[in-house]
Amino acid sequence: MENLENYKIASLGLALQRKGDLLYHEGPLLTHFINSENANEHYFYKWSDIDENCNRWLIFKVTIENLTSFFEGSITLLQLIQNNQFVYFVDLDTDINEVNAFICPTNKIPNDYLPSGKSFFKESQYEKYALTLRNELQKEAKSSKENEIMEVLLIQLLAIKNKQQNQDTLLEIILNKLNRGRQNDEYLSQSILLTDSINLSRSINEPILN
């Protein structure tokens, strides 16, 4: 097996839960795991090497966005790996004991451990589990898109409602002003009328000097 001693770590330190095999030939070759404590954290185990005692697995993280792109055929399995800054390797013996663990910068992965640049998703080559996972992701993406649309609609409706409220407030202010103006006018008219009456009364009661 390739020498990875420079990248050796005490142990993998990941608590992962197996979800299903994506590639299989008389045994798993590519398997999907999730973090046992965070179901949104996805990992792939890719078979990479073997010797008399152990199988070596390359473990790398995958984001939902990258996984979706992979299933859509926009990126390869190689790119899924290379989208990480670093990856893990683990050597498992026949009793599935962890014999060695490594953390390796992605650009230092031996070429013999990497898939080719042609490693696009091919439905016919993958296990049923891969198709189930792809469908689940598509469903989630659809539902999340619908939610996004609903959110945008809600924001727009709220904006319309706010605008309507502002218009109502403005209308109320204008009406109030108009009413106040009208009241002032009435007051003014009443004042003029009163002044006129007083004047008239005065003119009647005062002796005519001329």
Partner: protein, 140 residues
């Protein structure tokens, strides 16, 4: 049928081999290592490495007790090169290095219906003697 892994079938709760599997006379192709007597050539993975199947469903265990065969040399090669592209250039270390062929009979075991890449699982009977009946025909 007196299957090679009958005792292992009894340890799992699903019907193994599945009901839909049939016996058939046909020419089949399989990946093998250089030495045809290499014990890995005709031993299913679950049998060789049962602990690898910890947490696997009984159906997966049943599948792990079958040998992978192809209906043509081309199908065998195409699948090999696809898996090599998808896993790594040294995939031959676990998958095999040659294509071998054999004429199997309806007495040799039960077979799955081949899928669209020409692959099917085969549950062999005891004493199939495949080491002497399979012949290497090409290098992978």
């Amino acid at each position: 049928m007196d299957f090679q892994f009958l005792e292992d079938f009894k340890k799992i709760s699903v019907k193994c081999p599945p009901e839909s599997y049939i016996s058939k006379n046909m020419q089949v192709f399989r990946w093998v290592f250089d030495d045809i007597t290499d014990e890995r050539n005709f031993q299913p993975l679950f049998y060789r490495n049962p602990k690898k199947y910890l947490g696997a469903s009984d159906w997966e265990k049943c599948k792990g007790l079958a040998l992978s065969l192809f209906i043509s040399e081309d199908f065998a090669k195409n699948r090999f090169y696809d898996l090599k592209d998808t896993t790594c250039p040294i995939a031959y270390k676990v998958l095999g290095t040659n294509v071998a062929k054999c004429d199997i009979t309806e007495n040799d075991g039960l077979n799955e219906e081949p899928n669209n890449i020409g692959h099917f699982n085969h549950h062999p009977v005891k004493n199939h003697d495949y080491e002497n009946r399979f012949t290497i025909i090409s290098k992978l």
